[in-house]
């Protein structure tokens, strides 16, 4: 399984390689072309456009009056933005960790030849199916101090039970985490389950003989071989975390005050509701910058490391 056979080859193509015009040789490139074009225009083109806007004082619609770094200055003077950023840190971190943990755990549990696997799997997955426009309401009720879980627990006899995170500016971000985990962890589970279903059974046998318990087999043998799946899951989860917009809009609408605001909401509110496209663009660029700062080193090590497997 010389995984890197193909890549090492491509890297080491001698300079003297004659240019060939056979269609077959071009096929991979042709196949990728639409995506490449789309990415260049619709991702990088727009990104640059946004970057340009962030240096203008665009308000309701884009204009090109440049104002230098004014928007960025205003952004970092803005208390609400700082709250949103720190919320993203807490929310994103917890959300990704808990989702990964739950997703892996559930996938492994489900992989134990469970009788009702299909049904359980669908139950874990279904939260993804329902738009947050409405589940937000259900969650709002559940987390509501006066008539949600708290009330249920009190009725069940736990008189002192208090659960008022939703109205506590310091705790409300954890409510977001709960709802987001509820929604996304099932998909992570599915992702890992698909990965588990492709693992070579001989390897597992070998580990059993080596004396590894089931848990160790998963931890040391199976999960490491699912590294690419972790990679997928991580990208997906950070994507969800960074773009969590509906969630906040439906569950807290940023409140109490703006204590549960996330950058995506901040950006949207400023760019569209408050006619401050310039500021919105600047906030988008900062978001993107944060992502890149974390993502690029990771990507680099992932794409390098994988060459030898």
């Amino acid at each position: 399984m010389n995984k890197n056979a193909a890549n090492a080859g491509s890297g080491a193509t001698p300079a003297g390689r004659p240019a060939r015009l056979s269609l077959a040789d071009w096929m991979p490139k042709i196949v990728m072309a639409p995506t490449v074009i789309a990415a260049i225009v619709c991702i990088y083109g727009y990104m640059i456009w946004t970057a340009v806007l962030s240096f203008t004082n665009s308000r309701m619609l884009p204009t090109y009056k440049f104002v230098g770094f004014d928007q960025y200055e205003r952004l970092f003077m803005n208390d609400r933005w700082m709250v949103a950023l720190s919320n993203l840190g807490i929310f994103g971190g917890l959300f990704i960790l808990i989702c990964l943990f739950l997703g892996v755990m559930l996938a492994i549990f489900l992989d134990q030849k469970i009788r009702a696997e299909g049904a359980i799997r669908t139950i874990y997955l279904y939260p993804m199916a329902i738009s947050f426009i409405v589940t937000g309401t259900a969650w709002k009720w559940l987390l509501n101090p006066t008539n949600g879980i708290e009330k249920m627990m009190i009725e069940l006899g736990f008189e002192d039970f208090r659960f008022n995170w939703l109205s506590d500016p310091d705790m409300v971000v954890y409510c977001l985490v709960i709802a987001a985990v509820w929604q996304a962890s099932g998909f992570v589970m599915a992702l890992f389950l698909a990965g588990l279903r492709g693992v070579d059974s001989e390897m597992i046998k070998a580990a059993q003989l080596d004396g590894a318990s089931t848990i160790t087999t998963y931890r040391r043998i199976i999960l490491p071989s699912l590294k690419p799946v972790f990679f997928s899951a991580l990208v997906i989860l950070s994507h969800i975390a960074i773009k969590s917009f509906d969630l906040v809009a439906a569950l807290t609408n940023g409140g109490p005050g703006y204590s549960s605001d996330l950058p995506a909401n901040f950006m949207y509110a400023h760019a569209f509701t408050r006619s401050q496209i310039g500021l919105g663009a600047a906030s988008a660029m900062v978001m993107l910058g944060c992502v890149l700062a974390i993502l690029i080193p990771y990507l680099y090590s992932e794409l390098r490391g994988e060459r030898h497997e």
Binding site: M32, T50, K113, T122, M128, Q208, G280
Partner: protein
Amino acid sequence: MSNVAKRQTSTLDKVLRIALYVCLFGMAAVYLAPFLVMLLTSLKDVEEIRSGTLLSLPSSLNFDAWSKAWSGACTGSQCEGMAPYFFNSFQIVIPAVAISTLLGALNGYVISHWKFKGSDVFFAALLVGCFIPFQVILLPMARTLGWLGIANTTTGLVMVHVVYGVAFTTLFFRNFYQSIPVELVKAARLDGAGFFTIFYRIILPVSTPIIVVTVIWQFTQIWNDFLFGVAFSGFDTQPVTVALNNLVNTSFGGKEYNVDMAAAIIAALPTLVVYILAGKYFVRGLTAGAVKG
């Protein structure tokens, strides 16, 4: 580890197994709770919702809210319920899912088995790209669609979904194909198979689990998308989420939570159906035992 032999179980094993089931069903209950709230609410009438607790059972089964949500509730000035919007959504979702999945599979295949100079870099760039907040691309995308003459059409929406979905589908497939031995592709090339033949005959048949995952992801994302749906659709091509949003945001004359909840469940039905159908293909992978070492 399904191939672990079934053997006579010791007491410990049994206890563990029971614990496992307890855990799984416990989690299932937790996952179900919000849904139960929604379901129960949808079966109550407005008065009961106001007075009862969240998980109290409805006094009588009452499907009025469901039929209203389906065909009677007002979404804007029309009062035709959710029904008409389903078709719009399907028109968007089916081609968008199909195209983005196919493109993702092909891209993943190229990136993992037909590397060329820059393909890895491009993959990284694509990934970075999927972190661009969707809100910022609304305006330039609107302009682009206007130029292309497909603003506010289904085609335009499909295109938008494909463009921003393909990064994820590529990611899924690439990471899955990474574990397919290169020897298989080599053998097929020697056998005289070309680029597409290898893809179709060798790679696709072992991709079922990842196709399932990708379709689930894409279908859900596109079906539940609101932002693009609202910004790029025409008045007659609005997807179901926009209708749901309109329906839910009724704030005049008392909120009909039962109808809202019923509508939400109805709106989620196609996705659920996809989960159930696609889930069947979550079979064990087939790569094992093909090669040595």
